[in-house]
């Protein structure tokens, strides 16, 4: 082929353009550690990466939800343990209440039960982050009150309203969980407090006969119900931990998959960058030598 005055410079410009494009790309890859930055670098891989990043974002949200579920559940379990401690003592007092204690002794027990009722009411109306945890969805209003309008005092749940169950939310894509106790469980707390009030009133009468076996059996039933509620919250705890563990594992798997799609092998990139730099230098040097001389130098 006939070589003209512009053959060398035109070719040089094309080669340098190609080399500098490659250098720019490799340099960007070294700086970011990424093989893909623009979607058009590899549109199929970019689509998969965005999909996986979306899933990572969702899992991060589920993990935050799990942390909140865990906090609510821990508060619930803590209050249920309180109830059970109170129930233990109440059942003990109901067993100890006999004629040998005398009216004054029974009234002293009544005083203690009264204190325990106060304690139980406090636990039943516990708040977490400003919200009542034993009131289903109606978390802004106190769930338990003692109705003193009748012949005998009665603990009532939710003041006669019928709240929706506590909110369920996602800890994973497949299912929801509610860390709150159900309305039927909450009503059992009211029953327990009412039975405590019945025990107090019976003890206040000063007659051991007033503490009937039926009352004792009812209190034992309440204790069983509290233990059942605690065990249900224990299984909620297990599920939270299970989902959290799966989320952590899935997050790590996704990170590895994204890395495989998006990240560069730094060592390989640096070696290639060095190769290209050498080619760049060689290209400049050879062009410098070729373009420097022509027939003009010898005339």
């Amino acid at each position: 082929m006939r070589v003209t005055h512009n053959t060398f410079p035109d070719g040089l410009i094309r080669h340098l353009q190609r080399i500098t494009t490659q250098m720019n790309s490799l340099s960007e890859q070294s700086a970011t550690g990424q093989r893909i930055t623009d979607l058009s670098d590899d549109s199929a891989a970019a689509n998969r990466i965005l999909d996986m990043q979306e899933e990572k974002g969702r899992i991060t949200q589920y993990t935050k939800n799990a942390a909140r579920a865990d906090n609510i559940n821990n508060s619930t379990i803590s209050q249920l343990n309180n109830f059970i401690s109170i129930s233990d003592r109440i059942n003990e007092i109901a067993t100890l209440a006999n004629d040998l204690k005398g009216p004054q002794g029974l009234q002293a027990y009544a005083e203690e039960v009264d204190e325990l009722i106060e304690h139980a009411m406090q636990s039943a109306n516990t708040k977490f982050n400003g919200e009542y945890i034993f009131h289903g969805a109606d978390s802004s209003n106190p769930p338990f009150a003692i109705d003193t309008s009748g012949a005998t005092d009665v603990a009532v749940y939710s003041g006669g309203t019928n709240p929706n169950e506590g909110p369920e939310f996602h800890l994973s894509e497949s299912g929801t969980i509610s860390p709150f106790t159900s309305n039927s469980t909450n009503e059992k707390f009211a029953d327990f407090i009412t039975r405590m009030i019945d025990l107090r009133d019976a003890l206040e009468s000063g007659s051991a006969a007033a503490v009937t076996n039926t009352l004792r059996e009812d209190l034992e039933t309440s204790e069983d119900e509290l233990i059942f509620a605690l065990s249900r919250q224990g299984s909620v705890q297990m599920r939270i931990e299970f989902d959290d563990g799966l989320n952590k594992q899935r997050f790590t798997d996704l990170e590895n998959n994204i890395s495989a799609e998006a990240d560069v092998d730094i060592a390989q990139t640096i070696v290639r960058l060095t190769q290209i730099q050498n080619a760049y230098q060689a290209s400049l040097q050879s062009a410098g030598q070729v373009l420097n001389s022509s027939l003009l130098n010898y005339l």
Binding site: M1, R2, V3, T4, H5, N6, T7, D10, G11, R14, Q34, I36, T37, D38, L39, S40, D41, D42, S43, A44, A46, N47, I49, L50, D51, Q53, E54, K56, G57, R58, T60, Q61, Y62, T63, K64, N65, R68, N129, G130, E131, G136, A137, D138, S139, S140, P163, N164, P167, E168, F169, H170, E173, F251, T252, E255, A262, D263, S294, L295, L299
Partner: protein
């Protein structure tokens, strides 16, 4: 006239003239070495003839019989065709690259955490629509876990506004880009009309200049070829030489109907003006002024730019409108199933990506987590349902058992956006690859043309010396003849 010494002197003078043209031609070539329009020339030296003398037939010496234009007509034609293809691909690529940049979506791993414990829900990615769409649904998940929280409600409102503004801005960018491309096409068409007139004018000048010297209006021919190259970059044209017309050409362009097959843009000294009708969206039309026949513009920057504008860019914009409209309808349907006035989540008066907005009544106080009228602050029924919408595939709403209102092609909102963005990115990559291939072909042809028409300084310097030496030698011949004449005139008597 070389039968005597005076005749020899005359022949030598002619030779001197011929060598002078050799030197000046080399000089012209060298001075145009960097002129891309220029094709090198060669002075053609020829014998002036032969006469019979007393000692037999003798030559009349040398003279310049003409100048050769070093052009390859086939290569010129091929370059015109490839220029059109390259112009089309370059224009399409430039438009699509602008569109890709307008999406504002990149892969960014800087904020990515390797472990979920250190991760932020909105910490990764490039802040494109994919991320803000995900943040939007994550905010519903977050509020579903804490429906009484004002902070979560505020965050949800902010994320919703970021999403709507992102869609608004992206849509605006794409609409502006389409308008810019249209304006670019109009500018290109104006340039094409100027070039068409210029080619017709050059046709006339060439015919006039070559009336007595066929094929010798070299610089005018160079200019006309350069204008044809420029016109090919804007639109694909066919060029044919008109027989016995003094070197004039005809430039034609095909019609869409095929009847007539082509329309003349340039015929001898006559030029037409092209017009652009963009009144029907997505169906641009070109015609000659005063003629309704629609022209088929297949290559060049006009074709490439319009292919991008009415192809992938329009398709992406339609996709964004579908996304926005689906988002408004599906979210509002859950948030306000009875379509009670003033209770919507998104303003339903504008369902486009350009106009989507959060309802003006919505704020952290009025945001409901439950049904209208529900008073329990822990009720999360609505926000949970909207959060789950983010993971729902929305297919054909008319299919049996379908519960959705809109059709995202059986994809989630996130997957639908990713598909739209990937389609555009794939188009960028595909056109880029074709443009690279085309550049290789184009460069090879340019190299071949350069090999034929390009100037080599070494060659021209050698030529210049060759003619300079011949000139010197001829000068010496004249001096010798002069000395001989001196002998005859001054010394013999």
């Amino acid at each position: 006239m070389s039968s005597n010494i005076i005749g020899d002197l005359h022949n030598a003078t002619k030779a001197l003239n011929a060598h002078r043209f050799g030197v000046t031609t080399a000089g012209t070539n060298m001075s145009n070495v960097n002129n891309p329009e220029y094709a090198r020339q060669r002075a053609i030296l020829g014998d002036r003839g032969v006469v019979n003398s007393l000692v037999g037939p003798r030559g009349l010496g040398v003279e310049v019989t003409g100048f050769q234009h070093m052009r390859d007509a086939v290569l010129d034609k091929e370059i015109l065709r490839e220029t059109s293809i390259k112009g089309s691909l370059d224009a399409e690529l430039a438009a699509l690259q602008k569109a890709e940049a307008s999406i504002g979506q990149q892969i960014n791993r800087q904020g990515d955490s390797a472990f979920v414990d250190g991760a932020q829900t909105d910490g990764s990615g490039s802040g494109g629509i994919a991320e803000v769409l995900n943040d939007f649904f994550n905010s519903f998940h977050s509020l579903s876990a804490n429906p009484a929280s004002d902070a979560e409600k505020e965050s949800l409102i902010q994320k919703s506004r970021i999403l709507t503004e992102k869609l608004n801005v992206t849509s605006e960018r794409f609409t502006d880009l389409q308008a810019d491309i249209t304006s670019e096409v109009e500018t290109d068409l104006d340039t094409a009309n100027d070039l068409i007139s210029e080619i017709a004018r050059l046709n006339t000048e060439i015919a006039r200049a070559e009336a007595s010297h066929a094929g010798q209006a070299l610089s005018l021919r160079d200019s006309r070829q350069a204008r044809l190259d420029e016109l090919s970059e804007i639109m694909q044209i066919n060029v044919t030489t008109i027989d016995k017309s003094g070197g004039q050409i005809k430039v034609t362009i095909p019609t869409i109907s095929g009847n007539p097959a082509t329309v003349d843009l340039v015929n001898r000294g006559t030029a037409v003006t092209l017009e652009f009708d963009d009144s029907v969206p997505g169906v641009p039309s070109f015609n000659v002024k005063g003629d309704t026949e629609a022209l088929s513009i297949k290559g060049g920057s006009i074709h490439g730019a319009l292919a991008a504008r009415d192809g992938e860019i329009a398709s992406f914009l339609t996709g964004m409108n579908t996304l926005a409209s689906s988002l408004v309808q599906e979210v509002n349907n859950i948030y306000n199933p009875g379509a009670v006035a003033g209770e919507n989540f998104f303003d339903d008066s504008n369902l486009t990506a350009a106009g989507i907005s959060v309802d003006s009544n919505l704020n952290s106080t009025t945001l409901r987590t439950g049904a209208i009228g529900a008073t329990e602050q822990g009720d999360n029924a609505i926000v949970l349902a909207i959060a789950e919408l983010g993971d729902s595939k929305l297919g054909d709403p008319t299919a049996a058992g379908a519960t959705n209102l809109t059709d995202l092609g059986d994809r989630t909102f996130g997957a639908f956006f990713r598909a739209q963005a990937s389609d555009l990115a794939e188009a960028v990559a595909s056109v880029e690859s074709r443009a690279d291939d085309e550049a290789t072909v184009f460069n090879l042809l340019k190299q071949q043309r350069d090999a034929v028409s390009g100037v080599s300084l070494d060659e021209e310097m050698a030529d210049m010396i060759k003619f300079q030496r011949a000139y010197e030698a001829t000068g010496k011949l004249i001096r010798t003849i002069d000395e001989m004449l001196d002998v005859i005139i001054n010394r013999l008597i």
